[in-house]
């Protein structure tokens, strides 16, 4: 495990430096890692986040560590765009850059409704060594081949999601339906799902600033997995995970998240550990515009 961390040191340094660029920020994050709810980024704000997925595979397979950086920008009140950069390191193997993703979320309805739909469109320029598992689709991937081989197989993928999300008092319930198409290979369409439910641990905000009070924590659970492909739809040979999630708003600036996911099928990893740390730079768009002499 330690060897995998050492291999990733340069990538971790870059990610840490990028995160430290966020000097003035605030955060109010949902605790989910995989599931999306209907809350978009505020217009003009930039969220910088670093997360990682650590896989503890079955016996005979190797531990891996897959960090990724996210740059999420609120383009308008109804459109959020996000860029991902990701890497991966496997114990006893190498550390590799596994690609990038560009996702966009659109909210067609302006007002809050009983069920709030969001349309999601993502392009992925990744390789087969990718392990961040931001979504689980299709059939379960194998983890046996070395990074040197996997990183040579590139995949240009288009992913769409229908996000449905509802708030009931303090509870959030979100459902994501995923369709992914690998444009590089004739694999047909792959399907997946993700469900999440969460709530803050306290409803009322206290009058004083506090770091450990309950209002700064939210918790929930996610359930996600693959649903096969057009070649064979269903649960056969698919990975599924049940994942408790918890988020701690450390300060007005930052949020920490953690999720230990438990594999539910033989094709799943027994455990996936996910960590996340996010900043939100408020008014980034107007500051950038002012820098270049534009109208804020």
């Amino acid at each position: 495990m330690w060897q995998a961390f050492c291999c990733m040191r340069p990538i971790l340094i870059v990610i840490t430096l990028l995160s430290s660029l966020a000097l003035c920020s605030k955060a109010q994050e949902s605790p989910y890692f995989v599931t999306y709810d209907h809350h978009l980024e505020e217009p003009g704000n930039l969220e910088i986040a670093t997360s990682s997925t650590m896989g503890v595979p079955r016996s005979g397979q190797r531990f891996y560590f897959a960090p990724y950086a996210e740059f999420e920008y609120g383009v308008t009140g109804r459109w959020t765009s996000e860029l991902y950069l990701e890497g991966q390191s496997t114990a006893g193997d190498s550390a590799v850059f596994t690609g990038w993703r560009w996702e966009n979320r659109f909210r067609p309805l302006a007002r809050e409704h009983w069920i709030n739909p969001v349309l999601y469109l993502e392009y992925e320029g990744i390789n087969e060594a990718s392990r961040i598992q931001k979504e689980i689709v299709g059939n379960a991937p194998g983890f046996g081949e070395p990074n040197s081989e996997l990183s040579q197989t590139h995949a240009h993928e288009l992913e769409t999601k229908l996000i449905l999300s509802s708030n009931f008092h303090d509870w959030n319930l979100a459902e994501n339906f995923i369709v992914e198409k690998n444009l590089s290979q004739n694999e047909g369409f792959e399907f997946g799902y993700s469900l999440g439910v969460s709530r803050p641990l306290a409803s009322l905000a206290s009058g004083t600033k506090c770091r450990f009070c309950r209002e700064n924590f939210s918790a929930g659970v996610e359930l996600y997995g693959g649903l096969g492909s057009t070649a064979g739809f269903g649960f056969h040979d698919t990975a599924h995970y049940l994942a408790p999630v918890i988020a701690w708003q450390v300060s007005d600036n930052a949020t920490l998240r953690f999720s230990p996911a438990i594999g539910l099928t033989h094709q799943s990893n027994p455990v996936l550990l996910r960590f996340g740390y996010s900043y939100e730079v408020r008014g980034f768009g107007s500051k950038l515009a002012q820098l270049f002499g534009g109208k804020p």
Partner: protein, 145 residues
Amino acid sequence: MLVTTPRVFAGLLCAVAMCCTALAQNASYEPDTGWQAPADAAARVNPLARKPAAAAGGKKLFLRECAECHREDGSGLVKKHSADLRLSVVQGQSDGTLFWKITNGNPDRGMPSFSRLPEMQRWQLVLFLRQLAPLKDSREKQDAK
């Protein structure tokens, strides 16, 4: 001369700062007439109305979530087209209407939705908004003259 120059400079600086503050406030805020809460939402009563102490939490939330656009005193910013929350055109709205507007936002006019906040925290914000120093809007000032 050596004594007076710094005083004059400081005076000018104060005057400029006061002008900037006055210009930055959005007392001439024009509400979006199409941004109306449904009647049932407008009629809702603040469940924290009898708990004024909860406004302290509302203030904390306001400073964290709202002050960047509405300023710490709620006076709004011209460049952000954000409302001066002290105006009677805002304060005259029901608690339910303010709650609905905080919850839904007005994304096409730059006001984000705050439905991600727990419901009671949104009511805390409404409670705090009622504590902002009331101010008559510019038209009312003109009428008074």
